[in-house]
Structure formats: structure tokens, C-alpha cells
């Protein structure tokens, strides 16, 4: 899991959420690219973040594209976070004995604009939360940092400040994640994305 590096935080606020990741793509201790985000948009209110082996990340992303396209063509509606999460868990557990080496986080707003945040391990075991979740190389220290700074019912601005601070604090101490960050702020009005400055090493 430390081979390619990376970290992701998701934080929930009042009918909105923010998902942030670093931008480093490396091979062991060599940094190859500094603009590789690990967060992908499924539809306007559903985002997935993945950390792990980059080849598996691309493959899972293409398989999910396939399945969500078939779903929306057949049912004439977009897939909902709960259904999407179960689909991903099934996909990951299907490869129980030769797993995809990827940890995933799903963040979305369902049709009533309620928060949906779930993180999964490599076999698809879910752990839902309503406040924050982190995955990646500095996820343990990020959990501690988020616990201090997170407050319930934050609005978009506060959420952005908090998640940026937490990400910068976590990334600066870890050599396999870093090289800048990107934050997506999602509410029922839409998505705003911003880049943040961290230590560039």
C-alpha cells in the first residue's frame, strides 16, 4: 500500500461534504508525477477516492464506469450512493483470494441530500461514518488530527478551512504523500474544487 503513496480525507458538514487528496504519484521512494489526483467523480453528488496500487485504481475505475453506465441506461436514472457502495463491495469481495490492492472511500449525497460517507478495506468491508474518514499512508495520524479539528454541522467555508489544515498537517510529516493537494467541496448546489499548497517534497 505504500508503494505508490497517497492519502485522502473526507469530512462531512451540514448537507455538504468535502473530499481532499494529495497529488503525488510515486514508485516506491521516487516521485514520478505531481499532478495525480486520486479522487474520481461518478456523478454530480457522488465521489470515490482510492489509494493503493495505481494499476488497480485505474482498473477499478474503468469497471465502475462500465457498471454505472449500464445501470443508468437500463434504469434511466443515476446510481445512488448506497447502491454504488454495495456494488463496489461486491466487486472487491469477488476477488477475495487475489484482491485488488486498493483502499476506497465513497462520499455522496443521496436524493434527500443526506450525507453518505463510507470507507472500505481491500476486501470491500464497509465502515460508515457521518463525520470524517481517511485512507492512505498517513491515515492513522490523519484520524487523530481530524478528531481534534472536526466540529459537527460546519458549512462550506469552515469545512474547506478545516479539511485543508488537516491535510497539510498530515502530509507534511509523511514522505510518501504530498506535493500539493486538491479539495472538492460538494453540496446540493454543486461542486467547487480548489488546489492547496503543501510542502513540495
Amino acid at each position: 500500500m505504500d508503494y505508490n503513496g497517497g492519502s485522502i480525507i473526507v469530512m462531512g458538514g451540514k448537507n455538504c461534504f468535502a473530499i481532499a487528496s494529495d497529488l503525488r504519484f510515486g514508485i516506491d521512494n521516487f516521485t514520478v508525477e505531481k499532478k495525480a489526483p486520486k479522487i474520481f467523480k461518478i456523478n454530480e453528488k457522488l465521489f470515490i477516492g482510492m489509494i493503493g496500487l495505481f494499476g488497480d485504481i485505474s482498473t477499478i475505475r474503468q469497471i465502475l464506469d462500465y457498471k454505472t453506465s449500464i445501470y443508468s441506461l437500463k434504469k434511466s436514472e443515476k446510481i445512488k450512493p448506497f447502491g454504488f457502495s454495495n456494488m463496489l463491495s461486491n466487486l472487491l469481495y469477488h476477488h477475495r483470494f487475489a484482491p485488488f490492492l486498493v483502499e476506497t472511500i465513497i462520499a455522496g449525497l443521496d436524493e434527500k441530500n443526506n450525507l453518505f460517507i463510507e470507507s472500505k478495506d481491500i476486501l470491500g468491508a464497509k465502515s460508515a461514518s457521518s463525520d470524517y474518514a481517511t485512507i492512505g499512508t498517513c491515515s492513522e495520524s490523519l484520524y487523530g488530527i481530524c478528531q481534534i479539528f472536526w466540529k459537527p454541522d460546519m458549512n462550506g467555508e469552515e469545512l474547506f478551512k478545516t479539511i485543508s489544515n488537516c491535510l497539510i498537517l498530515g502530509l507534511n510529516r509523511n514522505c510518501v504523500s504530498g506535493w500539493g493537494g486538491i479539495v472538492h467541496l460538494v453540496s446540493k448546489k454543486g461542486v467547487t474544487s480548489k488546489l492547496i499548497q503543501t510542502r513540495m517534497d
Binding site: 464506469d65 441506461l73 437500463k74
Partner: protein
């Protein structure tokens, strides 16, 4: 061991024809009417809906137009379950193409996939052909707007204006008379009304036909519009006022 496969369905008779294919055309000529018109602005598809009694709850299953991919649609006539099987298969093939090549499947390619399936059932042992004719259309950056018609034999042809299903011969004659090279979408809608209206004078038009329009919006994005019942009914009022004048 005697073979249980009946080879009559996939063999030629002495006249050089496959009888099952002729019979499948009968199924298609009894199916719902479908008209497709290609203009320089976009594509217009209209299908006739079946009559539903007031105690039937199947109104959501009436649609005869399906999306195969974000820019490719398919209108069906003839045997609905046969067509659904083809549409489901085509959707999966389109997504597999996209997964391998990371680009949207070209129109000709999805068409040949569907027609290869249809042809296989006319040649390999004992299965009957699909009793459907599909109208497949969409937009390609290479070839622009296209409409194709497929037949149970696996044959396909490209058209600017085509009618399949019930009364296809009469409807095609009307299209031959009315079609011009620089039609607009408005003109095409008038042709559709001419074809459908004369049979359903006193009924609400929107319960009898559905209309889909495929065109580019202001930002050059492809937009597929399904006309709402109100819009269809208001089309009728426009023609009536014109006739009065």
C-alpha cells in the same frame, strides 16, 4: 441418435428464400409504426404507442425507444422481447468496447455487432431469427448524424428518412413525397404529424405517439430530448390554426 435440432428454419427452400425470414417480416409489419427522419440539425424519431385500457398499469413499459450509449439510441418494432434481448446485449458490448479502448463505440461498430448476432440466428442450427427491425441512430464526430435500419436477416442500410412497422409502405411513400434535403426539425415534426394524425383525429395525440429529438444545443453538446405530452399536443394546435388560415 436422432438429432433434435430442426434444420428447416435455417435452410433455403427451392425458391432460394428462407421462409422464416419472410414470416418474421410479417411480425414486423404488425408491430408499432416507427418513423425516423434525419435533418441537418438533428434526428427526429417518432413511434406509435400501443393502446392501453384504463385498467392496465403498464404505461411505463410502453416506450419503444432505448439508449444504447450516451449518443446512440435504438427504436424497436416487431417482437418486443426479441428486441429487448438485442438492446441489452448491445449495451453490454458498447460498455466493453469503452472499457478496452476508453472511447465511445462508433455507430457502425455497434450496428455490425447487432447485425452479426441477427445473422448468426439465420444460419446456425435450429433457432429462429429475431422478429424485430431496429432503427439505430446517433451522432458520430466522423460521420455526423446517421440513421440505420436493421432487418431480421442481419442486413442493414443507412437512411435519411425511413418508416418501419405498421403501414411502413404507406408511410414510406408519404416520406418520399415530403422529404427534402434541407429540412429543419420543425418541418420534420410536421411530416410526422401528417403521417400519424390522419388515423387518430379525435384522440389525444400524446397518448398515441412519442417523439425523441437528437440535436446539438448552443454549446455543441449532444442533447436527446423526449417531447412531453403537452408539447406533442401543442404541435397539433399549431397545425390546426394553420389549416384554418
Amino acid at each position: 441418435m436422432p438429432s433434435k435440432i430442426d434444420f428447416k428454419t435455417t435452410s433455403f427452400d427451392s425458391g432460394g428464400r428462407i421462409s422464416q425470414l419472410e414470416f418474421s417480416m410479417e411480425t414486423i409489419n404488425n408491430g408499432n409504426p416507427v418513423i425516423g427522419i434525419k435533418t441537418s440539425e438533428g434526428i427526429l424519431i417518432a413511434t406509435g404507442k400501443n393502446n392501453l385500457s384504463y385498467y392496465s398499469d403498464s404505461s411505463q413499459f410502453l416506450t419503444k425507444i432505448f439508449l444504447l450509449e450516451e449518443n446512440i439510441f435504438c427504436a424497436i418494432t416487431g417482437s418486443n422481447p426479441d428486441a429487448q434481448a438485442l438492446v441489452d446485449n448491445a449495451r453490454i458490448q458498447a460498455q466493453q468496447f469503452k472499457q478496452t479502448f476508453q472511447e465511445i463505440i462508433p455507430l457502425k461498430k455497434i450496428l455490425t455487432i447487432i447485425c452479426d448476432i441477427k445473422q448468426k440466428f439465420t444460419q446456425t442450427g435450429g433457432k429462429r431469427p429475431f422478429g424485430t427491425s431496429l432503427l439505430i441512430g446517433g451522432f458520430d464526430s466522423v460521420n455526423g448524424f446517421q440513421i440505420f435500419r436493421t432487418e431480421p436477416s442481419g442486413n442493414f442500410s443507412e437512411w435519411k428518412a425511413v418508416a418501419i412497422g405498421l403501414n411502413s409502405y404507406t408511410n414510406q411513400t408519404i416520406l418520399d413525397e415530403e422529404f427534402k434535403i434541407d429540412l429543419t426539425i420543425e418541418d420534420a415534426l410536421q411530416i410526422i404529424l401528417k403521417i400519424f394524425y390522419k388515423k387518430i383525429k379525435s384522440f389525444k395525440l400524446s397518448s398515441k405517439i412519442e417523439i425523441f429529438i437528437l440535436k446539438h444545443d448552443d454549446k455543441q453538446q449532444l442533447v436527446i430530448n423526449c417531447l412531453s405530452p403537452n408539447e406533442i399536443d401543442s404541435l397539433l394546435k399549431k397545425t390546426e390554426t394553420l389549416k384554418v388560415d
